[in-house]
Symmetry: C2
Subunit: 254 residues, 2 copies
């Protein structure tokens, strides 16, 4: 399947996506699910994709064509993030219907998208575009959106508040992603991360790591140590000795 997420904090946006696609466990591929569109000092978008690969590729192709052909409506011209979400959603619906008309047997052609970005001086934002065409945005109480295998990594994102720094949110996004990578074979590397600083409109920082990259290995190792330490500090049961003796029991945590 997929795991994609985006977080909005006061100082900007963080996006994170995996790269595994499959048409069955014996037909696994690697495709980027992070698609960036930007015009310096004007507007920047990040579009994360999930679902039927042929549908998402058709949608991306159309988005790029509309820009190249200077169409009246494109990601270059839409005046707001909501209208950008409508525009992407309508293209997706068109593509899905076209494929469905050509095919007589029931097949899932649906795709979802997680769109975020900033247009001019408008505040940065996020939109989750459902296969049905409607969309939701994040909120201050729920400053993130996810797609795909969302459950393994959600408890970590629940900790984030809008006051966190971009880098703190990005680290949380990465452990949320890595937790999911370890638990679900349909989610796999490379992992991509994009950090867009609000009001900078400069395309942000984009990073990409394969599974053996030192940074991801170090992140995973430090995270496991941190979790073991966190468990070691949990309150004792009524019958236990003082917590000083409890640190020893976690040496074997993997």
């Amino acid at each position: 399947m997929t795991y994609c997420l985006a977080i909005r904090v006061d100082t900007g946006l963080v996006f994170c996506s995996d790269s595994r696609t499959h048409g069955g466990i014996d037909n696994v591929g690697t495709y980027s699910k992070m698609h960036r569109f930007g015009w310096s000092d004007q507007r920047h978008f990040c579009l994360l994709s999930a679902g039927n690969l042929a549908t998402t590729q058709s949608v991306l192709r159309r988005l790029r064509q509309d820009i190249q052909r200077d169409q009246r409506i494109s990601l270059r011209t839409v005046p707001s993030l909501d209208l950008a979400a409508d525009y992407v959603g309508s293209i997706r619906a068109e593509v899905q219907q076209r494929h469905a008309r050509r095919h007589s047997e029931p097949t899932d052609f649906t795709a979802s998208f997680l769109l975020g970005g900033q247009i001019g001086s408008a505040p940065p934002g996020l939109r989750l575009i459902y296969p049905q065409g409607n969309a939701i945005h994040e909120s201050s109480e729920h400053p993130f959106l996810q797609m795909g295998e969302v459950q393994y990594g959600k408890p970590l994102l629940d900790m984030v508040t809008s006051q966190w720094s971009l880098e703190a949110a990005a680290r949380c996004a990465l452990v949320s992603m890595d937790t999911t990578l370890q638990s679900n074979l349909s989610v796999g590397p490379p992992v991509e991360l994009l950090i867009l600083t609000g009001d900078r409109l400069d395309g942000g920082r984009h990073l990409r790591w394969g599974s053996e990259h030192l940074f991801l290995r170090e992140l995973r190792s430090q995270w496991h140590q941190g979790l073991a330490a966190a468990i070691g500090r949990l309150p004792p049961f009524p019958w236990e000795e003082s917590s000083l003796n409890r640190e020893k029991t976690y040496k074997n945590a993997r």
Copy 2:
């Protein structure tokens, strides 16, 4: 739905279950899903239940009747954990088929069980009994089993090794449960915990907490602080300042 789990470490077994049942979001109830059977110095079982409540209640009723009526085969007489799992599975199949025969419309009468325990001097063990009647056991590489809403809390259980103490495993079980409680409304308190020390055959330690219990609130608070600290210690991105300044960014973690 449900969340139940059990862990086997070298020194014994840990069981943890929630208590929420529902027939739709407007029909929520509270029923214990942890059923204990024990005979001092001889054998102890813990049976966690999930699925159709009428099925699980029928199965439990039959298990108790077989014991009370001194039936040739009951949890008091089965010679091994595998045969105990077969016995429970066969009663479950009989109950499911009986209910299905009386009902013409498709309805899900299935139930799953997580059985664990120790018989005499045989090693303690766990069995996950599927609705289809077959069962699996834990392994040294995967020393736990789960039922229900398993994804939110699984990454924490992945840390456990068989060398952990019973109390360490129990704390891990509780945070796995609490993480799930916070993320899925179909899983709810009271939370029950059973710790069976291997070879003691004394019924173990059983605890039960409502959502407002001080211990659970303290556990959740300490866990969130531990997670925030763990995120704070993750490796910096190449462009960041020294980690000394990073601790400040987590003051607002919830």
